[in-house]
Symmetry: C2
Subunit: 422 residues, 2 copies
């Protein structure tokens, strides 16, 4: 967890009374960067002003950005490799490791000399100069196509990482699908997130190219005591039923690949599914509140399950009304997604808005659904097969994009992203 952010003035004050040690020693483990990084950062000319706050660690047992509480913005980037040799891929991941470790601590890429030499393109593109790290996380994974014949890694593909089937109702468009490598960048500042994707793409030149990117957002006032669970663009709270990221046992059970799962290079990693889900907002906006609430099986205002009072009340799936009809309809989204409590996954969704659909003149807006799990077949695929077949919400949504990525375990300092696979 993060501490309450410190302002630059707080930092100076603390340094004044207790020396720098107070700052570096304080706070929950991992929430603040190390002394070495702090010194490196301070030397960076363009970065001199960044306050020492709100940084998640890049190195660790797990990648950040998975059980990390959702930041306000997403920049998702899918890459295709143009390289033909595994060595080139390895070199890219090494470069990306160094870059991601810097950017998550709010540092510029390169150093003073590579950013101020007039005869070179600057090492860092500069648009995040002076900005705080903004809780940025950069999470890397590889797609099914990474395990084709190009790099000799077919035998390493985990059984828990199959291709996604075509689900009923899918209307996938190639420009929002797939990719050899997926990078989920999240931050509380969209400019900071954009900067990371752009600089990773720049470092990949000659080795990989962007296949698709998509920005996403949540409300930016999450710090408000009244903000509560974010609402999606249908006006309903989204994420109420998520497992508890503070429950380590549950995270092991639901999210983190375990040694006994096979594919040992993935232990402590997680499988990600991304779906770009277009919402037919104009149609939704013409349906009655009752229709909307029956669709989700929850009240719009409170987020409580139908028949219950509070957002976090359990779903009573057996409750019947006076006429003997289920209070939560059999095809309600929350009932189906609940999977009788047996199958869970960790959702990490963002809204997106991408202007108008030129063909229809309607809003191209909806949900960048992202989820993490230990086994894609037993979790996402099992759940989505049921939702695709029965969910009343399907009247109002269309899945237009789809990708899945095996997200590596965390990187130890001195290692690089994916080092356990190669």
């Amino acid at each position: 967890m993060l501490n309450k952010p410190l302002s630059r003035r707080d930092v100076l004050k603390m340094a004044g009374v207790g020396g720098l040690g107070l700052l570096l020693g304080g706070g929950a483990a991992g929430a603040l960067f190390t002394g070495t990084q702090a010194v490196a950062r301070r030397k960076n000319v363009l970065n001199a002003g960044r306050a020492h706050r709100a940084a998640y660690p890049f190195y660790g047992e797990h990648q950040s950005g998975i059980i990390t509480p959702s930041q306000n913005f997403l920049c998702f980037a899918s890459f295709d490799l143009t390289a033909t040799k595994l060595d080139e891929v390895r070199a890219l991941f090494k470069k990306w490791t160094t870059a991601a470790a810097s950017m998550t601590q709010g540092a510029m890429l390169g150093n003073e000399s590579t950013n101020t030499n007039p005869n070179l393109p600057p090492a860092d593109t500069g648009e995040a100069a002076g900005l705080i790290p903004s809780k940025i996380t950069i999470t890397f994974g590889v797609g099914p196509s990474f395990f084709d014949s190009r790099f000799g890694l077919a035998a390493k593909r985990p059984a828990a990482f199959p291709d996604l089937p075509k689900f009923r109702g899918d209307a996938l468009q190639p420009q929002w699908c797939g990719g050899d490598i997926g990078v989920q960048v999240c931050a509380d500042d969209l400019q900071v997130a954009f900067h990371a994707v752009r600089n990773l793409a720049r470092l990949a030149r000659g080795t990989a190219v962007l296949r698709w990117t998509q920005e996403g957002f949540q409300r930016t006032t999450a710090a408000e005591p009244t903000a509560g669970t974010p609402r999606n663009l249908m006006g309903f709270k989204d994420g109420t039923g998520n497992p508890d990221v503070n429950n380590a046992a549950q995270m092991k059970q639901v999210v983190w690949v375990q040694p006994e799962d096979g594919a040992s290079w993935m232990a402590n990693g997680s499988y990600m599914v991304v779906r770009r889900i277009r919402m037919r907002l104009e149609v939704w906006d013409r349906s009655t509140l009752d229709d909307q609430q029956q669709t989700f099986g929850r009240y719009r205002d409170s987020g409580a399950p139908l028949g219950a009072r509070d957002e976090f009340d359990p779903l009573d799936l057996s409750a019947k009304d006076e006429a003997g009809k289920p209070v939560i309809p059999l095809n309600a989204h929350s009932r189906l997604a609940h999977m009788e409590g047996k199958t869970k996954l960790l959702r990490r969704a963002y809204s997106y808005s991408s202007g108008l659909d030129l063909k229809t003149g309607q809003l191209d807006a909806g949900l960048m659904f992202i989820c993490y799990q230990r086994n894609i077949k037993q979790q996402f695929i099992a759940m989505q097969e049921i939702l695709a077949a029965e969910d009343k919400l399907n009247e109002y949504i269309t899945h237009v994009g789809s990708a899945s990525f095996a997200c590596f375990p965390g990187v130890a300092e001195g290692g690089y992203i994916g080092d356990r696979l190669f």
Copy 2:
């Protein structure tokens, strides 16, 4: 100007010690909503949790969102009228006035009954429920096409509001151009801004349809003492040379239409130009720091003019280096945009990022350039003709979208948007 935001806890504390009057009476004029609105808001069921803070007034001499300090996000919406009668347009503007006045104060559209009647579509789409107003401003204008033969208003078109000419290098795409009505929505929360555009579009059903929309962003950590002038996606500070919005005399001279300008319905209004400017970031990122600095005529790190030390140092256009060459090149962007200090306009620009250009695989990202002025011909057109012909920056940018709007004066309470035109 806004006060320092109050948290909900602050509000309760103040109410405890001094009663509600303290809150309503305190602060700079216009920064807090009126008592009547506060009561209306508290009655609104979905909105009960919104903290009382960070709201700009909707009613007033001028529209908010013009000389208002830039919020972090933009949702720009251009509409085309499908109505055939002026009465329908007037009715739309009346509906929009009520809606905009509510939304800028953080209230939901409609009332408790229209938002909780199960048999009706809710009056408000709900995704901003519980969120604070986030400094949202909603600024309305009408385009040149509004004055064609449809509504009998051709004679009211101001001379200071001509069609934009085709500038050298323009590569305009119809999907980013024009519109009968332009609405600039800005807020510190993108979800709040999106909510406003969507609900305005919904209220317009049967009268007007969206023609194009575009989101934009700046860094969200503007409150940081180190944030300074925002940087554009080229990594340079953007807006350094802007006139001072706190200088009322200068605003009269540069931004606000004056009674002697003709078109009396526009007095205290302002003319807006919007240009969607694509940046060729991949090319920019390969050019040297020296090239980049010569292009802007400023240092990337400090934002100071070449040859000067501080960001706000004046441009010394006559300075020569030892070889007798101008220190600030003759084709540098800052030199040309400076117009020898004679022509100014008020810039209010946002970065945009809209995924990949499917044809080239490159980032579709750049600048939503928005500016306000008293006379489009003498200000934007005069400046852009020079920039289009000579600016070194043209190697790296392409204007792909363009629109202009006559933004009405402010609305008095009891009036409606555009009432002085009709």
